[in-house]
Symmetry: C2
C-alpha cells in the first residue's frame, strides 16, 4: 500500500492567546480576593472560612485567596464516567467525546400542528422517549420540559422517575435546594441498585446568580451533590449587558470567578468531587432587553469556556443548539447550527441543550429535538473525515472511467456510497418535483414524521421489577410528605 493516511480533527476555534487566558484568570482572582463573592448559604460560608477565606458575615461576602483556588484546581478529575443501569450507555465526560444531553427547563412546548402552549408531563414523557431513541444523545437529562400540570413541590418526583424508567441512559437530577437534590440522588441510587452511589450516576446544574452571588438553594444543591461524590456542572448564566458588563472580557472574568468559587467550595466539601466548568452565558440584546442565546457573542462564550476549562484541566459544559427563534425556521436552523459547530469544534465535554431548544431557553419542541440530532450527525460526519489510501484514491478506477464518463454503477461506488456518505434522515435531497409530489414538506413537517416514527417504534428499556417497585414506593412516600 502506497498511502495509508487518515485525517485529523479540526483545531478548536480558540480566540484567546495564552496571555489572554492568563489575563482572565488574574482578573478573576482579583474579583475573588479583593471584591468578594456573596455566599448566602451559612454552612458554605463556614466551610470557606474554615479553609482560609475572609468572611464578611454581615454582608455574606466571602473573599477567597489565590492559594485556595490553586489548591482546589488540583483536585477534581480531568475526566469521569457517568453510569447508568445499562453499562453500554455509560458516558465519559472529559474523555474526548461530547456527552450530548437534552434541553432543560423550558416552560413552553411547540409541537407541529399545535402551536406553542404550556409544557406538560405528557410532553416530558415524549421527550424522554425521543432521548432514548436518538442514538447521538448520551444523557437523558432532567427537566426536559418544565411540566406545568404537576404540583411544583413534587415535580422532581414526577420527572426523575420518568427519566429513569423511560430511558436507560445516564440522567440528571434536581439541584434546587438540599431536599430535592437528596431525593434525586436517592432515586438514582435505587434505580441503579447502588444506594451508596459508589460511582457517578447523576449530575446537576448549579447556577449562580450573577453578578457575584451564590444563593442558598443552589449552594445547598452543590453541597448535596458534592457530599455524595456526584458531579456538578457549575454554570453561571452571566448575561453581558445585564448581569455582567457589556464588554465580553469583563463578563468572562466575572463568570470565571463565580465558577472558581464553586470549585473551591466543592473541593473543600469533598476533595475530588467531579466538576464540570459550565458556561451557559451569552448577552442581552439591549433593543429588547431579551437574553439572546443564539448570538455570535454567545458563541464567543462557548469558545472562551472551552479554552479556560482546558487551561484548568477540568471538563467543560457549554453550547448547545441554542437560538432565539420563536418557531422552526431558517433562523432556528442557522443559529442552532452555528452554536452547535462552535461547541463541537471546541471539544465541549458535556453539552446540555444539545437538542430541542427554541426561543432563548423558553420553548422545547420534539420536532426541533430530532432536527438537532440531524445537525449533530451531520457535524459528526464532517469531524470523521476521510482516509487517504490506495482503496480511497482508486487510481485504477480513475483510469477505467473514460473522460466525461461516470462512476455511478461501479462496484467501488456501491461499496462506499452508503458507508462513506452521511444519509440524511430529515433534511431533504429529493428532486424538487419529488419533494412537491410528496406534499412540499418543510423541515418542521418532515421532522414531525420522524417524531411520530420514533414514538411509534419506542420500546421501554428493561428495569428490574423489584427495583421499579421500590422506586415507585419511594416516590409515593416522597410526594405524600411533600404535599402534606
Amino acid at each position: 500500500m502506497e498511502y495509508d493516511l487518515s485525517t485529523v480533527e479540526v483545531p478548536p476555534p480558540e480566540k484567546m492567546t495564552e496571555e489572554g487566558v492568563e489575563a482572565i484568570h488574574d482578573v478573576s482572582i482579583q474579583i475573588m480576593e479583593d471584591i468578594g463573592i456573596k455566599v448566602a448559604h451559612e454552612e458554605a460560608r463556614d466551610i470557606l472560612a474554615e479553609a482560609g477565606a475572609t468572611v464578611d458575615e454581615e454582608n455574606e461576602i466571602v473573599r477567597i485567596p489565590e492559594s485556595l483556588v490553586d489548591d482546589a484546581l488540583e483536585k477534581p478529575p480531568s475526566s469521569f464516567t457517568l453510569h447508568s443501569r445499562n453499562p453500554d450507555r455509560n458516558t465519559g465526560v472529559g474523555d474526548g467525546d461530547t456527552t450530548l444531553t437534552s434541553t432543560y427547563g423550558a416552560p413552553n412546548v411547540l409541537r407541529y400542528g399545535e402551536g406553542r402552549r404550556a409544557s406538560t408531563i405528557a410532553d416530558y414523557e415524549d421527550l424522554a422517549k425521543i432521548a432514548q431513541m436518538e442514538e447521538v444523545i448520551g444523557c437523558t437529562g432532567y427537566n426536559l420540559c418544565e411540566p406545568t400540570d404537576v404540583p411544583q413541590e413534587v415535580k422532581h418526583y414526577e420527572m426523575v422517575p420518568r427519566s429513569l424508567k423511560l430511558t436507560d441512559k445516564p440522567v440528571m437530577g434536581s439541584t434546587y435546594g438540599e431536599e430535592r437534590a437528596r431525593a434525586s440522588l436517592e432515586m438514582v441510587g435505587i434505580a441503579n441498585d447502588d444506594r451508596d452511589l459508589s460511582k457517578p450516576y447523576m449530575t446537576g446544574i448549579i447556577n449562580t446568580v450573577s453578578p457575584r452571588t451564590w444563593d442558598t438553594r443552589m449552594t445547598g444543591g452543590l453541597l448535596e451533590y458534592a457530599k455524595a461524590g456526584q458531579p456538578v456542572l457549575i454554570s453561571p448564566a452571566v448575561m453581558a449587558n445585564a448581569s455582567g458588563p457589556s464588554t465580553l472580557a469583563g463578563s468572562f472574568a466575572l463568570a470565571n470567578a463565580e465558577i472558581l468559587t464553586g470549585v473551591v467550595l466543592s473541593q473543600q466539601i469533598n476533595p475530588g468531587t467531579p466538576i464540570v466548568y459550565g458556561l451557559p452565558s451569552s448577552n442581552v440584546d439591549v433593543r429588547y432587553g431579551s437574553f439572546s442565546i443564539g448570538s455570535p457573542e454567545g458563541g464567543l462564550f462557548v469558545s472562551f469556556a472551552a479554552q479556560m476549562a482546558r487551561s484548568y484541566d477540568i471538563p467543560v459544559r457549554a453550547g448547545g443548539t441554542l437560538n432565539d427563534s420563536k418557531t422552526i425556521d431558517d433562523q432556528s436552523g442557522a443559529e442552532s447550527m452555528f452554536q452547535l459547530m462552535i461547541a463541537m469544534f471546541s471539544d465541549i465535554d458535556f453539552m446540555l441543550h444539545a437538542a430541542g431548544i427554541l426561543n432563548s431557553y423558553s420553548t422545547v419542541s420534539p420536532e426541533k429535538y430530532v432536527l438537532d440530532c440531524e445537525r449533530i450527525r451531520y457535524v459528526q460526519r464532517f469531524q470523521r473525515g476521510y482516509d487517504l489510501n490506495d482503496e480511497t484514491f482508486a487510481v485504477d478506477l480513475l483510469e477505467e472511467v473514460e473522460p466525461g464518463g461516470h462512476f455511478l454503477n461501479k462496484r467501488h461506488t456501491l461499496e462506499h456510497s452508503k458507508t462513506d456518505h452521511y444519509m440524511t434522515k430529515i433534511f431533504n435531497r429529493q428532486s424538487y418535483d419529488d419533494w412537491e409530489s410528496k406534499g412540499s414538506k418543510d423541515a418542521f413537517a418532515a421532522a414531525h414524521d420522524r417524531v411520530n416514527e420514533l414514538l411509534d417504534t419506542y420500546e421501554r428499556p428493561p428495569l428490574d421489577e423489584d427495583i421499579e417497585q421500590e422506586l415507585d414506593e419511594y416516590v409515593e412516600r416522597g410526594k405524600e410528605e411533600a404535599l402534606n
Copy 2:
C-alpha cells in the same frame, strides 16, 4: 494599562496532515502524467504540446509532465485586486479577506408569497440591486439568476450591462466560449473606461467536465480571459459517486488534477494570469441520484480546497451558503450556516454563492439572499472577537455593581452595548408576545420585509453618461449580430 490584548482568528478547519496534502498532489500528478486529461480544444492542445506535454490527438488526451506543473505553479500571483469604477469597491482576492459574491446560474426563483417559478430578467435586476445594497457583498457576480425570458444567444448582453449599471462593485462575466467571453470583457472595459483592461476587472468561472475533460466552450473561455490577463476561477464540479469516485480522496485527486491542468494552460497562454483554485464539488446522494451541495462531505471539499490552494500559494474559491432545501426553512438555515462557517473559517478568498442559493444550485431567492447576508455578518462578528484591556475588564464596574445587581443602566453598558454586540437585522430576538403581536413572522417573512426595504431605498450608483451610451450602443450592436 495593565492589559492590552486582542483575540486571534480561529485556526482553519484543516483535516489533512502535510503528508495528506502531498499524497493528493502525487496522485494528481499520476493522473496528469500517466492517465491523461482530455482537452477538446485544438488550440489548447497545441499550446500544451508546444510546452512539452504528450498529446494523443486521436483521443484528444493530453499527458502533462510534473515539471510543467511545478513550473506553472510558480507563476500566478498569490493575491490580486478586482477593480471597479468606484475604487472604494475594489476587492482584494488572496489578501486575507473573503470576497463575497452572489449566487450564480439558478434557473428558478423563489420569492415570498409567489412560490417557485422560472427566473426572469426582472428578478436579475432585483438581485443586482440587493447585491449593491448589502454591504457584505464584495462582488456583484454574473448570472445572478438564469433569466428564462430573454433569448439565450444574447443573455450575456442582457446580464453583464445590468450588473455594470445597477452596481458599482466588481462583476463577473460569461466564460461560455470565446465570443461571449470576449464580449463580456469588452463591456467591462467600456464601463471602466479602460478598454485595454490594464488591470483585473472581471473574473469568470471555468468549469471542467469531470472526470478528466476540458471541453471546447470552457477552454475557449479560459483562453480569452487569460489572454486579457483577467483572473479565472478554475472550478471542476466533481461529484463524488457520479463524476468522481465515491471515496473523497479519489475525487479530491481528480479535481486537483483538473485544476492543475488549467493552471498549466493559463500560464502557458499568459504567464502571471491570476488564477483562483476553485472547487464547487460535493457528492451525489445515491438514494435519489441528486447532487447534494449542503452535505457534510461538501464541507470536506471546502476544507480540502483551502488547504490545497494554500499549499500552492494561490487564492481559493469554494463554499457558499450551500444547501439542498427546496424552501426557506430550518434545513436551509442549518446547511447554509454550516457551509458558510467552514468556508469563512477556512479563509476562502473568493466565495461564489455567498448569498441567495437554494435547492442544489437550482433556485435563487431574494429572501434567502438577505438571510445569507445576516449569516455572514453574524459569522464576521464571531471572527472579530474581543479585546482584553482595562476598559473591557471593567473591574471598577464589577466592584460598583452589588451582588445580584445589574449593569443595564450603566454608562459603560450604554457605550459598549451597540458597538460590541451584533444587532440582527432579520433574526428575531423580541419576546414571544411581541413577536406574536407583530404577526408571528418566520424568518422567510421577516426577510421579505428586508428585501422590500432594500429595493425601496436602492439608488443607482453614478455612471458617466457618455460611457453608459457607449455601453448601450455596444450591447445593441452585439445583440443584433448575435440574433441575425
